[in-house]
C-alpha cells in the first residue's frame, strides 16, 4: 500500500509536507477546524446581543445621570430663588433703616443749623434748646453716611447696609442660576447622547435580524451611532 497516496475524502493540505525539513505542527484536523469556525461564529453571533444589552445598560445610565443633573439644576434654582428672597428681605430692612435715618437727619440738621445760627446771633438759651433737640435724635443718625458737606447720603447708607447684610447671607442668585443653567445644558446633551444610543437600537436590531449587506450595514451604522452616543455621554458626564 502506497503510503503516499492521498485520501480523496480528506481536504488537501494547504502546504505539502516538505521532506527533510523540520516538521511543522500538525495541521488542524477537520473536526478541529469545524470546531474553531463554530466557536468564531458563536462569538460573532454574540456580538450583536451583547451590543444590544450594552445599549440598554448605557441608556439606563444616561437616564440616571440625566435625573441627577436635573435634580442638581432644581436645587441650584431653589438656592437662587432663596437668595433673591433674602436679598428682597434685606432691601426692605435696609430701606426701613434709611427711612428712619433720613427723617431723623432732617430733624437733627434743621435743629443743629438753627442752634448754630442762634448761638452766632447771641441767643444762647434758645440755642441750647435747639442743640438739645438735635441731640435727642442724633442716635438715629449714622454719621458714617454723612458726606463731606455734612449731608446725609441715603444711597451710600443703603449700599453699606446691603454690603453688610451680604456678608452674613447669600444674596447673589446669579451663581446659582448659572450653575442651574449649566446643569440644564448637561441634561440637554445627555438627552442627545441618549437619543443617539436609542437610535442605535433599530439599527442593531435590523442587523440582528438580517444577513448579508443589510446585516453588515446595520451593524456598522448601529455600532457607529452607539459609539458616538457613548462618547458624547462620556464627555458631558462630569
Amino acid at each position: 500500500m502506497d503510503t503516499n497516496q492521498t485520501d480523496p475524502t480528506q481536504p488537501a493540505p494547504l502546504l505539502a509536507p516538505d521532506k527533510g525539513k523540520a516538521t511543522t505542527p500538525d495541521p488542524p484536523t477537520a473536526q478541529g477546524r469545524t470546531h474553531e469556525r463554530t466557536r468564531r461564529e458563536r462569538l460573532r453571533s454574540l456580538v450583536l446581543p451583547v451590543l444590544l444589552a450594552a445599549l440598554g445598560l448605557s441608556g439606563a445610565l444616561i437616564a440616571w445621570r440625566t435625573a441627577t443633573a436635573n435634580e442638581a439644576a432644581a436645587a441650584e434654582t431653589a438656592a437662587g430663588v432663596a437668595a433673591e428672597r433674602a436679598k428682597s428681605r434685606a432691601i426692605v430692612v435696609a430701606e426701613g433703616e434709611v427711612a428712619r435715618t433720613l427723617e431723623a437727619w432732617l430733624d437733627y440738621e434743621r435743629d443743629r443749623r438753627e442752634a448754630q445760627a442762634l448761638t452766632a446771633h447771641g441767643y444762647p438759651a434758645e440755642a441750647l434748646r435747639e442743640w438739645s433737640s438735635s441731640a435727642s435724635v442724633f442716635f438715629l443718625v449714622d454719621p458714617r453716611y454723612l458726606d463731606i458737606d455734612g449731608h446725609y447720603d441715603p444711597q451710600r447708607h443703603r449700599d453699606g447696609l446691603m454690603a453688610d447684610a451680604a456678608s452674613r447671607e447669600d444674596f447673589d442668585p446669579l451663581p446659582h442660576y448659572v450653575a442651574a443653567d449649566a446643569e440644564h445644558e448637561r441634561v440637554r446633551r445627555l438627552v442627545l447622547a441618549g437619543l443617539l444610543v436609542a437610535a442605535a437600537l433599530p439599527l442593531l436590531t435590523l442587523a440582528e435580524l438580517t444577513r448579508g449587506r443589510v446585516h453588515r450595514l446595520g451593524a456598522l451604522a448601529g455600532l457607529a451611532v452607539f459609539a458616538s452616543g457613548l462618547v458624547l455621554a462620556g464627555l458631558v458626564w462630569l
Binding site: 428682597s88 443749623r113 444577513r211
Partner: protein
C-alpha cells in the same frame, strides 16, 4: 389595488430574502417596530425633558420677579412714606414762618430779630429739604400753587412698577404653565407609547390570530402617541408682547390717578381725561395681544371705574355711562372665560350688570363671586341691590342681613372702607332709582347702623336699650383769635346758615336717665360720610345732658366748614336715635373795601412815628388797636383806632387830630395819608383829595368805603367804614 398588493408582496419578499434563515418574518418585523418605537419613546422623553427645563426656567423667572418685586415695592412705599415725612417738615416750616411773620409785629425787637433769624435759617434749609423728596420737586410739585401731586408720584413709583412686575410675572408663570402642560402631555404620550410597546412585545410572543391583532393594536397606539407628540410640539406658544404689558401698565397708572382725582365724589375734567386715557391704553394692550386676558381686565376695570364715577358723581348722567357699562361687561365676559376663578372679576362684572340694569346677570355673576369668596360682605349687599331691582324684596333683605353677619365675623380690613362707599352709593341710588327709594333708604339706614355697631365691636342689628334720647340743639362754632371755640345761635332743623367763620358744630343731647351706653355721632355732607367728625364716646356717668364738639382739624385751624347739605345722626349703641339736617352756604363775598388789613395798617403806623397798643379782641374775635404819635401829649397827638374782624379785615377806622393851628394842617395831611393808604389804588387819590378839601360833617362814598369827616370841640375826626351793600 392589485398594484399595491403586488408592491407589498415584493416588499415582503425582499424583507424575507434579507432575513436570516431561521428568522420568522413577522416576528422580525415586530422586533424592528419595537426598536423603532423605543427610539421614538426616547425622542418623546427628550422633548418632555426639554419642556420641563423650559418650564422650570420660566417658573424661576416668575419667582425671581415676584421675590424682587416684594423688596422693590415695599421699599418704594417706605420711600413714599419718607417723602411724606419730608413734605410734613417742609409744610410745617412754611406754617411756622407764616405764623412768625404774623406775630412779629406784636413782639419786642429782640424777639422779632430772633424769629426773623429762625425764618431765614428755615428758608436757607428749604431747598435742601425739598431735594430730599421727589414729592417736593417737579413734576410732582407745583411751584406756583405750592401743591403736591401725590397721585402722580404714587402712579409712577408704586402703581406702575407693581403692575409691570405683576404682568411680567404672570407672563412668565403662564409660559411656565404652558411648558409644564406640554411636559405633562409628553408624559401622557409616553404612557400610550408604553402600551403600544406592551402590545407589540406580546405580539412577538404570540402566534396565530392573536399576533396580528396585538400587532395592529400596538402599532395604532404607537402611531397615535407619535402623532400626539408631534401635535404638542407644533402647538404655538402663548407669549405676551412687551407692548401689551407697557399698555396695561399705562392703563393702570391712569386709572389709579383717575381714582385719586375724585374729590367729594365729583368727577371733574381731569378725572375724565385720565379715565379715557386708561381705556385708550387698555385698547392698545388688547390690540397688541388679543389673547392677553390681563388686557381685557385692565380695560374692563377702566370702563367700570369711569362708568361708576359718572353714575355716582352728583348730577352725573347714568345714560352717559351705558355704553361704557356694556363694553365693560363684554370685557369681563371675555376675561372670566379665561379666568373663571377670579372672584374680583365676577364681582365687578356683577356690579357692571347691576348698573346697566341687567339684574338677572348681576345676580348670577355675584353668585359666582360669592361661591369663590363667601367672606366678602359687600357681595351680599351687591346681590341684595340686584334682587331689589329684580323685585325680589325678601331675598334682598335676607342678603342684607347676611352681609352684616359676615362683616361682623370676618372683620376684614376692607369693611370700614366699603361700608362708607356703600353708604354713599346707596344715597345716590335713592335719587337715581325712585321706584326703589324706600327700600334703598332702609338698606342705607341699616348700613349706617352696622358701620357704627362694627366700630363699637357690637353685632349689627342688636336692639339697643329702650332709651329716649333728645337732640336738644345744634349750634355753629366760631373760633376766637386765641383759638377758643365760641358757640353761635342754634341751627334749626332744615335751615340754611352761612359758612363764614363757622369752624364746626356743638351738639347738645339729653336723656331722661343717664344711659350706660356709647353715643356716636356721624356727619354726612352732600351724602359723603365725613370721617373728621366721627365721634364715639361713653355717655358721661350720672349725666342727663351732654354736648359734643364736632370740629375737624381744619376747623381747629380756623378754616370754615364745607358748604353743602349736612346730615348729623346720633346713635346710641349703634342704633339711630336722632337726626338733624341743615344746609351750609358760602358767605357772599363782600367787596374788598379796604386795601389793607388791620394788622398791616397797625404795622405801618407803628413804623411811622406812632405807637400802637396790642390789639384787644372780643368773644367773636373782633379786634381793636389804638395808635398815637410817639412822644406827643394826648391832646396834641394824632391818633388812629383800628377795628378789625376775626379775619383781620378792617371793619372801622377812626383817624383824628387837633383841628386848629399848625397841628390842624398836620391833621388833614395825616388823615389824607391814612385814607390814601387804606383805599384801593384806583380811588386812593380821590380819597386823599376829599379828606384834605372837605368841610367837617361831610360824608361820601369812594369805592366801597364810606368816609365821614366830623368836627368835635377842637378835634377833627375821620371815620372810614365799608359802604353798605346796595
Amino acid at each position: 389595488m392589485s398594484r399595491l398588493r403586488r408592491a407589498g408582496g415584493r416588499l415582503i419578499g425582499a424583507w424575507r430574502a434579507r432575513l436570516t434563515e431561521d428568522a420568522d418574518a413577522s416576528r422580525a418585523a415586530l422586533a424592528l417596530v419595537l426598536a423603532l418605537l423605543t427610539f421614538a419613546s426616547a425622542g418623546i422623553a427628550g422633548l418632555q425633558i426639554e419642556a420641563g427645563i423650559r418650564s422650570a426656567r420660566a417658573a424661576r423667572e416668575a419667582e425671581t420677579i415676584g421675590a424682587r418685586e416684594v423688596g422693590r415695592d415695599v421699599s418704594a412705599r417706605l420711600q413714599t412714606s419718607t417723602d411724606f415725612g419730608v413734605y410734613r417738615r417742609y409744610a410745617s416750616a412754611l406754617f411756622d414762618r407764616a405764623w412768625a411773620s404774623r406775630e412779629m409785629p406784636e413782639e419786642s425787637a429782640s424777639s422779632r430779630a430772633l424769629r426773623a433769624r429762625i425764618a431765614d435759617i428755615d428758608r436757607e434749609l428749604e431747598p435742601w429739604v425739598r431735594r430730599q423728596s421727589p414729592l417736593l420737586l417737579p413734576p410732582y410739585f407745583d411751584e406756583a400753587a405750592n401743591t403736591v401731586d401725590y397721585a402722580a408720584l404714587d402712579a409712577d413709583r408704586n402703581v406702575g412698577p407693581a403692575v409691570r412686575a405683576l404682568e411680567e410675572r404672570e407672563a412668565r408663570a403662564a409660559e411656565a404653565a404652558d411648558w409644564g402642560a406640554r411636559a405633562s402631555g409628553y408624559v401622557t404620550t409616553l404612557t400610550v407609547m408604553a402600551v403600544a410597546l406592551f402590545f407589540l412585545g406580546l405580539a412577538t410572543t404570540m402566534s396565530g390570530v392573536a399576533r396580528p391583532v396585538l400587532a395592529v393594536a400596538g402599532l395604532a397606539f404607537g402611531l397615535g402617541a407619535a402623532a400626539a407628540a408631534a401635535l404638542i410640539t407644533a402647538a404655538p406658544h402663548a407669549t405676551v408682547p412687551a407692548a401689551a404689558i407697557d399698555a396695561v401698565v399705562e392703563s393702570r397708572k391712569n386709572a389709579s390717578r383717575a381714582d385719586a382725582s375724585i374729590a367729594d365724589n365729583v368727577l371733574g375734567d381731569a378725572g375724565r381725561e385720565l379715565w379715557q386715557a386708561a381705556v385708550a391704553a387698555a385698547d392698545q394692550a388688547v390690540a397688541a395681544a388679543p389673547d392677553h386676558a390681563s388686557a381685557y381686565l385692565a380695560r374692563a376695570e377702566a370702563r367700570i371705574g369711569y362708568a361708576n364715577d359718572i353714575v355716582f358723581s352728583p348730577g352725573g348722567d347714568p345714560a352717559e355711562a351705558e355704553p361704557l357699562l356694556a363694553a365693560a361687561m363684554d370685557d369681563f365676559r371675555r376675561y372670566v372665560a379665561d379666568r373663571p376663578d377670579s372672584y374680583v372679576a365676577w364681582w365687578n362684572y356683577g356690579w357692571a350688570a347691576y348698573l346697566a340694569g341687567e339684574d338677572r346677570l348681576a345676580i348670577e355673576a355675584t353668585d359666582r363671586a360669592l361661591a369663590l369668596s363667601p367672606e366678602q360682605f359687600t357681595l351680599y349687599l351687591n346681590r341684595a341691590l340686584a334682587r331689589l331691582s329684580a323685585g325680589e324684596r325678601e331675598a334682598a333683605m335676607a342678603d342684607v342681613r347676611t352681609a352684616f353677619e359676615v362683616a361682623a365675623r370676618s372683620a376684614l380690613d376692607s369693611n370700614a372702607i366699603y361700608l362708607a362707599n356703600v353708604d354713599y352709593n346707596l344715597g345716590r341710588l335713592v335719587v337715581l332709582r325712585p321706584a326703589q327709594a324706600d327700600e334703598l333708604a332702609a338698606v342705607q339706614r341699616r348700613t349706617r347702623e352696622a358701620a357704627v355697631a362694627l366700630r363699637l365691636g357690637r353685632a349689627p342689628g342688636e336692639a339697643g336699650a329702650p332709651i329716649e334720647l333728645s337732640l336738644l340743639e345744634l349750634r355753629p362754632y366760631h373760633i376766637t383769635p386765641e383759638g377758643r371755640l365760641q358757640p353761635g345761635d342754634p341751627i334749626a332743623e332744615g335751615t340754611t346758615i352761612k359758612a363764614a367763620e363757622v369752624v364746626g358744630f356743638r351738639l347738645a343731647l339729653s336723656a331722661p336717665s343717664a344711659p350706660r351706653s356709647v353715643i356716636s355721632v356721624r356727619v354726612w355732607v352732600d351724602g359723603v360720610p365725613e370721617a373728621a367728625y366721627q365721634t364715639d364716646r361713653p355717655w358721661p356717668s350720672a349725666a342727663r345732658q351732654t354736648s359734643l364738639e364736632l370740629v375737624s382739624p381744619y376747623g381747629r385751624m380756623a378754616q370754615d366748614v364745607e358748604t353743602g347739605s349736612y346730615v348729623v345722626e346720633v346713635f346710641l349703641d349703634g342704633v339711630t336715635r336722632g337726626r338733624h339736617t341743615f344746609r351750609v352756604e358760602a358767605a357772599e363775598d363782600a367787596p374788598a373795601a379796604f386795601a389793607l388789613d388791620a394788622p398791616t395798617l397797625r404795622l405801618l403806623l407803628s413804623q411811622n412815628r406812632m405807637t400802637c397798643s396790642a390789639p384787644t379782641s372780643d368773644d367773636r374775635g373782633a379786634t381793636t388797636a389804638d395808635c398815637q404819635t410817639t412822644g406827643v401829649d394826648a391832646d396834641r397827638a394824632l391818633t388812629a383806632r383800628i377795628e378789625g374782624g376775626a379775619d383781620g379785615s378792617i371793619r372801622r377806622l377812626l383817624a383824628s387830630g387837633p383841628s386848629a393851628g399848625e397841628v390842624g394842617k398836620l391833621t388833614r395831611g395825616f388823615m389824607g395819608i391814612v385814607a390814601q393808604l387804606v383805599t384801593p389804588a384806583a380811588f386812593a387819590e380821590d380819597a386823599a383829595r376829599w379828606v384834605e378839601t372837605s368841610a367837617p360833617q361831610s360824608r361820601t362814598t369812594i369805592g366801597a368805603i364810606s368816609l365821614m369827616l366830623r368836627s368835635t370841640d377842637d378835634r377833627l375826626e375821620l371815620e372810614l367804614v365799608p359802604a353798605e351793600a346796595p
